[in-house]
């Protein structure tokens, strides 16, 4: 299966800018479907970005984050060609992991 995570990490000067787009329904558990039944909560709880064995950014999410979530941040110390590891875990225990090269 193709990865649910799309990442672009670009180095400019000293900082690496990271943009991530993840495919996930992010159901909050407050929305009803067409039949009037509540769609059970299903959202990513934690998203972690690791560089060089250390986490550079950790996102704790609730059901209030939009569907197919997007996040952007920057960190110092990245090098071109190095790997950035991204992983998430949702409230049902599902996970996905990918690595991206810093460009």
């Amino acid at each position: 299966m193709a990865s649910t995570i799309r990442v672009r990490a670009t180095l400019s000067g000293e900082t690496t800018e990271v943009q991530a787009l993840i495919q996930h329904p992010m159901d909050s558990g407050f929305v009803k479907d067409a039949k009037g039944e509540i769609i059970p909560p299903h959202f990513i709880q934690q998203l972690t970005f690791e560089y060089d064995g250390k986490s550079v950014f950790v996102a704790d999410w609730g059901g209030g984050v939009s569907k197919d979530p997007y996040v952007k941040f920057s960190f110092k110390g990245g090098k071109k060609g190095d790997d950035l590891k991204i992983s998430w875990v949702d409230n049902k225990g599902a996970t996905d992991t990918t690595t991206a090269k810093i460009q």
């Binding site: 900082t15 992010m26 909050s28 407050f30 929305v31 009803k32 709880q45 934690q46 250390k54 986490s55 550079v56 950014f57 950790v58 996102a59 704790d60 999410w61 609730g62 059901g63 209030g64 984050v65 939009s66 569907k67 979530p69 997007y70 996040v71 952007k72 941040f73 920057s74 960190f75 110092k76 110390g77």
Partner: protein, 164 residues
Amino acid sequence: MTITDNGFSATRRLILQGAATVVLVGLGNLPFSLAPAFAAANDKYPEEAFKQKNEADAIKLLYGKTAEASDKVKLDAPEIAENGAVVPVSVSTTLADVTSISFLVSENPNALVASYKLPSGTVPTVANRIKMAKTSNVIVIVEAGGKLYSATKEVKVTVGGCGG
């Protein structure tokens, strides 16, 4: 014979009692050993904070202190969001030693939307997209040098992001 029997059962009882005590002590210690771990472990998902209905309770559970408004926290959100399901918000700050940034929406069923941990070396700027049930204040909390700073902006929502 009967005496030896009693002797046996007495020993057995002692052993069982001992085992029971160990179990009880073990269970009794568990909450104490978990509590500091919970407080210290920054990477644990703050489940309870995400369940809070109002922002003050969520902030208290997440950080254990209150925030003061600061003009050094710059919250960028639209005046009017046509679609409450996708509201782009971002924050940046000139504060030093930022360790955490959180987004809250007052009128959402659960106020806390997202909480980010920033290790040293990570730039204190975050952009993301959030859902808003209706017109509400968006609050951003920045933890810097152990203190909390906040910025608030009202976003008008024409179509809510929580169905209905």
